[in-house]
Symmetry: C2
């Protein structure tokens, strides 16, 4: 059994896997006659391969048993996929560059105001949340073609997370 400790989610640390969707550290400009401020261009939506289009969804997630054991890594070879908490809740993100290489795994703890956008092909675990009925806005790809690869993990060598 291997314990993986969560690290804070930052743009630099997450860059190999995708974008962090947040206002922090980003330029903004006033709009709406001065009644609003806009932070533009926070993620690269990349869904048009092989005739894909944009899919806007809400996903409601529930916690897995604690301590959290990673069960399966997945990736979407045809499109990006973003997740933003609709309740400002902290959550966990598990990614890797090679699901068979334990040393390639990274665990990030997002604060409620941080969303993430997995780049096309980035290996990630399904949603890991702390609270019941955690709602996310999700923008990813719909369309023809096989856009899901899964790598199931070996329970005997289960990767566990220390949040």
């Amino acid at each position: 059994m291997i314990e993986l400790a969560a690290e804070p989610l930052t743009k630099a640390a997450f860059a190999p896997f995708g974008d962090v969707i947040e206002m922090e550290g980003r330029a903004s400009f006033p709009i709406n006659q001065g009644f609003a401020e806009r932070f533009n261009d926070l993620a690269i939506v990349d869904v048009s391969d092989d005739g894909g289009t944009t899919n806007v969804s809400i996903i409601v997630a529930n916690p897995r048993p604690m301590p959290i054991a990673l069960q399966v890594m997945e990736r979407h070879p045809l499109g990006s996929q973003f997740f933003v908490s609709l309740q400002e809740r902290d959550w966990l993100i598990a990614v890797c560059t090679d699901p068979k290489d334990v040393t390639s795994y990274r665990i990030f703890r997002a604060i409620g105001r941080q969303g993430i956008n997995y780049h096309k092909g980035a290996w990630h675990h399904p949603l890991l949340v702390f609270d019941r009925d955690s709602r996310f806005l999700v923008v990813d790809r719909k369309g023809p073609g096989k856009n899901l690869e899964e790598n199931w993990l070996d329970g005997d060598k289960s990767l566990r997370i220390t949040p």
Copy 2:
């Protein structure tokens, strides 16, 4: 001075202007090994005209003086534009089919769990919120071309909202 009363936001009433992004009344299916439920395909993102691509933004809006007087109607002829509250806050939506025709205006009150997606070319007012620092996730278009038309309203005949 003309008073416009807000009505509840429903898919049917809003259909001439765009999509309502919500789980209510939508089909869902289980994902993530049963730990999550997905509500798919809640809005039509339509941003690719004239070389456009998807722009993911956060907009932080502040209330206008009460009673709210509509100031300017705008539309985006080249792309859709969606808004989802990141704090589950109620907000107001003002739309019309012809900004010069007072009888064409509709005011909707969205509950915090309802987002909306303006279809390409739908006339709408800039954000109308009740609380300071109201944050929205926004997905619209970036790219070449003129994607903003404005119609300023005549202050003498100002349209006022009864929330």
